[in-house]
C-alpha cells in the first residue's frame, strides 16, 4: 500500500517487537507518554500496516497485554529453529489438571485429585516447571494446604486475553458450585441443548 507509519505507531511496533512479555495499554502509555485512546488507534494502525503489507507478524491481545506474534501458519518453519529445545505438547493428564486449576483457582492439590480421581503429582510438577501454574497462597484450614493458580504464561500459551475468556467459564463455574441434585439437572439441560444443536 506504500502507507508509512507515524511516529507513535512506529514506537508501538518497536516496543512490541522488543518486549519479552505482553504490554498492557497502561504500560504502553507510560513508555510512550501518549494517551490510551491515541495508543489504541496507533495499535490498530500497526495492525493494518502488518496485515496490508502481508507481513508474518501480527498483534495479539494476550494475558492482558499486546504481544507481537508470528502467524501460526508459519509455525512448522519457525519451530525448526527450536528443534530439541522446545517443550512438547501437554499430556492429557497435565491438560486435565490444568483445566481443573484454571476453573477452580485458587485450589488445593486435594481438590484436583478429588475432581480427577487420580494422583496429580507428576502433572503438577510439569505445570509448575513450565510456569503455567504457581503457588498463590495457603488455605486457612487445618494444615494450611498450598493453593495453586494459573499464571500469565498460561494465558499466553493458550492465546487467552484473560481468564474470563476460558471456554465455557460460566457453565463450569456453575457446575462447581452446584449440589448433586442441581448438577444432574444442569447436566440434563446441557445434553438436551447439545441434542438440539446437532
Amino acid at each position: 500500500m506504500g502507507m508509512t507509519l507515524d511516529r507513535l505507531a512506529r514506537e508501538v511496533e518497536a516496543l512490541l517487537m522488543a518486549s519479552e512479555k505482553p504490554l498492557s495499554i497502561e504500560r504502553l502509555c507510560e513508555l510512550t507518554g501518549a494517551g490510551q485512546e491515541a495508543l489504541e488507534q496507533a495499535i490498530s494502525r500497526v495492525e493494518d500496516a502488518l496485515a496490508n503489507g502481508g507481513h508474518a507478524m501480527e498483534i495479539a491481545f494476550l494475558a492482558g497485554g499486546y504481544r507481537m506474534v508470528t502467524d501460526p501458519e508459519l509455525g512448522t518453519v519457525v519451530s525448526r529453529l527450536f528443534e530439541g529445545r522446545r517443550p512438547g505438547k501437554l499430556t492429557r493428564a497435565a491438560m486435565e489438571t490444568l483445566a481443573v486449576v484454571a476453573y477452580s483457582q485458587p485450589c488445593t492439590r486435594a481438590h484436583l485429585e478429588t475432581v480427577r480421581g487420580v494422583n496429580c503429582d507428576s502433572a503438577m510438577k510439569t505445570l509448575l516447571e513450565r510456569d503455567f501454574v504457581a503457588i498463590s497462597g495457603r488455605m486457612e484450614t487445618p494444615g494450611r494446604p498450598l493453593l495453586y493458580s494459573t499464571t500469565a504464561g498460561f494465558l499466553e500459551y493458550f492465546g487467552l486475553a484473560r481468564l474470563e475468556h476460558l471456554p465455557r467459564m460460566d457453565e463450569i463455574g456453575n457446575l462447581l458450585a452446584l449440589g448433586a441434585d442441581d448438577l444432574e439437572k444442569a447436566a440434563l439441560d446441557l445434553s438436551k441443548e447439545r441434542d438440539d444443536e446437532s
Binding site: A18, S19, E20, K21, A60, R67, M68, V69, T70, D71, P72, L74, G75, T76, V78, S79, F82, R85, R86, P87, K89, L90, R92, A93, M95, E96, L98, A99, V100, A102, Y103, T114, V115, R116, G117, V118, N119, L128, D131, A134, I135, E156, Y157, F158, G159, L166, P167, R168, E171, I172, L175, L176, G179, A180, D181, L183, E184, A187, L188, S191
Partner: protein
C-alpha cells in the same frame, strides 16, 4: 449389550485412561447410556471385569482403580438390597456422590479438549524475543524486581545440587572419652567404699565434653546401682558414693 465375553485383545488398555473416572465415562459412553439416567451399578460389572483382566495380565493397576473397584462393589451390593427411601442426602448416597464426580470430571475433560485446540494454534505463534529465552536452557531470570516464587527457590536449590562439587566432608570427632574409659577413671578415683564429689572426678580444668562424658557415665553407674548420689539442691555439688554392687 454386556461385553464381558468380548476378547481381551479388543479391549482398550487401562493405560489409555486417565484414571478410574475416565474408564467409567468410557464404559458409559460405549454403551450409549445417559449419564443423568444411569445407575452407576449398571457399568460396575464391566469396570470390575476390566480390573480383573488387568490384574490377571499382571499389569500394574494403580491404587486408584482398585479403590474405585471397591466402591463399585459396595454400590452393587447396595443395589441388591430392597430400595431405600427417596430423597436422601448426597452425603449418605455414595452413588449420587459418584455420579456428581463423573459429571464434573466429564465437564473438565471437555474443556481440556477445548484448551487443546487453543494449544494447537497458539503453540505455533512465536513472539520476540521471549521465545529465545524461554527455550534456552540458561537459568530463567527473575521477573523484574519482584521476589522469586517458591518454585524459583527450588530450582535454584536444584541447580546448586547439580554443580557437582564434592561435598565438604563433615568430620565427626570421636568423643574424648568413651563410657568405658570414664568408668575406668571413676573406678580408680573412687575405690570400693570411697565417696567423693563429682568435681573430684573431673580433674583440673575439664573441658565441656569431658564433663558431659563423665556425667553420662555417672548416670549410667547410678542406673546400674553401682553408685549412690545425693544433691542438696539443683546445681549444687553432686556427692557420689560407690556401692558394693560395683565389684
Amino acid at each position: 449389550m454386556r461385553s464381558d465375553s468380548s476378547s481381551r485383545a479388543c479391549r482398550v488398555m487401562l493405560s489409555d485412561f486417565e484414571g478410574p473416572l475416565d474408564l467409567l465415562l468410557y464404559l458409559i459412553r460405549r454403551d450409549e447410556l445417559d449419564i443423568t439416567l444411569i445407575q452407576v451399578s449398571m457399568v460396575a460389572g464391566q469396570y470390575l471385569a476390566y480390573i480383573r483382566d488387568a490384574t490377571e495380565l499382571n499389569l500394574d493397576v494403580a491404587g486408584e482403580y482398585l479403590v474405585m473397584a471397591a466402591t463399585l462393589t459396595r454400590l452393587k451390593s447396595r443395589s441388591l438390597l430392597p430400595s431405600r427411601r427417596e430423597g436422601t442426602d448426597e452425603s449418605d448416597d455414595p452413588e449420587r456422590a459418584l455420579l456428581r464426580q463423573l459429571i464434573l470430571y466429564r465437564a473438565f475433560k471437555e474443556v481440556a479438549a477445548d484448551l487443546r485446540e487453543n494449544e494447537e494454534v497458539w503453540r505455533d505463534a512465536f513472539s520476540p524475543p521471549g521465545e529465545r529465552q524461554r527455550f534456552t536452557e540458561t537459568a530463567r531470570e527473575f521477573p523484574d524486581n519482584q521476589s522469586g516464587s517458591l518454585m524459583d527457590l527450588l530450582e535454584a536449590l536444584e541447580s546448586l545440587a547439580r554443580k557437582g562439587e564434592p561435598a565438604v566432608p563433615h568430620m565427626i570427632e570421636r568423643p574424648v572419652l568413651s563410657m568405658a574409659e570414664c568408668m575406668d577413671i571413676i573406678s580408680r578415683a573412687m575405690p570400693p567404699g570411697a565417696a567423693g564429689r563429682f568435681t573430684d572426678i573431673l580433674g583440673e580444668k575439664p573441658d565441656r565434653r569431658s564433663v558431659v562424658s563423665f556425667f553420662i557415665a555417672v548416670l549410667e553407674l547410678v542406673r546400674r546401682g553401682w553408685m549412690n548420689r545425693t544433691q542438696d539442691y539443683p546445681f549444687s555439688e553432686i556427692r557420689l558414693e560407690r556401692t558394693r554392687q560395683w565389684a
